[in-house]
Amino acid sequence: MASGHTHKLYRHGHSPVHALPAHCKLVAVFCFVLVVVSTPREAAWAFGLYAALLAAVAAVARIPAGFLLRRLLIEIPFVAFALLMPFVVPGEQVSVLGISMSVPGLWGAWNILAKGTLGVAASVILASTTELRSLLLGLQRLKLPPMLVQIASFMIRYGDVITDEMRRMSIARRSRGFEARGVRHWGVLAKSAGALFIRSYERGERVHLAMVSRGYEGTMPVIDQVTASRAQWSYAVALPLTALAVCLLGWTL
């Protein structure tokens, strides 16, 4: 949420990663994260290899490291949680710099940090190399219920419109000398939220009228049919397959 606008997420480019069909990338990222999550946490070297794999993909996609790292900040709340673990988990204690921590807690913290970070990094690469529109079409290709994809499309289409309305209401409030400073002002803010809901709902009704006026009967016409070639699939699947090999190694070693 903290990342602000939706269209700032995508980095325009013409790399091989950008060119892959969205549904291939979605499958690849999901399988990759699943493999990462299933890797035993003791195989620290495996996580290093995963990170190297992601770095390679990011390099091919020409995503600057700074961009990627900044986007990783999203997981900070859970980093805090992970940092607490060594202190609250019972078990064998170890002393680091004079502070007593539990060994299983440290393992737990490492586990969450490593897997969470890899998951976030994979998603960030996906979002920065795939346009919103293709992501939605990709989800549709992957047999997500069409109604859900439609709802998501409308949410994306009108997310900015409604956020803008919210911003205009805030400007209108401030122009009349109102500055929300504490709990006392929640009533005013909630009235804005209520008004925003009414506007959103009424816009939904108007959009529905506009759709019905152009022949909508419950299903979206399929206009773009994205298909993936065997070669594209094999490129996309390379990431999770390599990861799977690493994971299996992690289990056997």
Partner: protein, 358 residues
Amino acid sequence: MHVPDGFINAPVSVAAGVTAAGAVAVSLRGARRELGGSAVALVGAERTAPLAGLVAAFIFAVQMLNFPVAAGTSGHLLGGALAAILVGPYTGVLCIAVVLLMQGILFADGGLTALGVNITVMGVVTVVVAYALFRGLVKVLPRTRRSITVASFVAALASVPAAAGAFTLIYAIGGTTNVPVGKVLTAMVGVHVLIGIGEAVITMLTVGAVVAVRPDLVYGARGLTTPLKLRVGGELVDAEPAATAPVAARSPKKLWATGLVTALALAGVASFYASASPDGLEKVAADQGIDRHVAEHAAAGSPLADYGVKDVSDARISGGLAGVIGVGATVVAGSGVFYAVRRRRTDEPASAPVRETV
């Protein structure tokens, strides 16, 4: 509190994913009815997509609206209870699920493998708890606007710690680190009661603001409107009752249905766990030792520890059928499952090293 990847182990994440998918599938059917009520005569066509989409965009936007608390800190709305009260439970679940899906894919906020957990906890549990409480209170309290706001407050207040409780339950079954569940529960519920107060005040004020202007748009308050008349050529004709009557007639059934779905879903998670062998994936480090597990097992010597998984899930189903989906029930039954499961888990690793030493 979007759960990232690696927090919950793979089998439980998948089970939660199945639960969430089931809940979304049920909601897709239910939302069609909730949003179908239209004053427009010939339209008849599907209104779910544009309306739910716009409400999802609203939830997305309102989560960005900062409510200053004091001295530079501020809170924001989670929106589950608000969505349930404003547009109905099914649409509420759908909207929250779509918001979470988009946050996961676009913002990497919440792990992709944890999507099921996030939707189950933040979408399904908050919405079901909030809506069940809300409808219950609206039925009991006098039919006034004040009751609507009071009910919104209570519903939103309970929904947040309920979600925290549900998260703790999932963590207890499939958490990747064995934090003692009592501590997690205390911390999670404790913190979230505080968050819940904020959520409750904001939800109550927002619902109040909408009820004051467009009471017809508040799904939970539809019983308050009076039937309409139509005037054609000077004659008064009864307007077709636009979804006011059916709601009242349907709501007990809906309560039962949601209860059943929740119970089945939770039972599904439990039985999935029972049939899977998570220990293989979990592979607790050998040095973590038998002692700790034995110690925990001893600590788990409550009457609940004697429950088998099967018995507990039956108890859940019957509990769900009774329509009691309150926070307490969820937490109590949840910890029952936890204890039973924990016992199984402790038994198996305990026996495995023994074989090795032999």
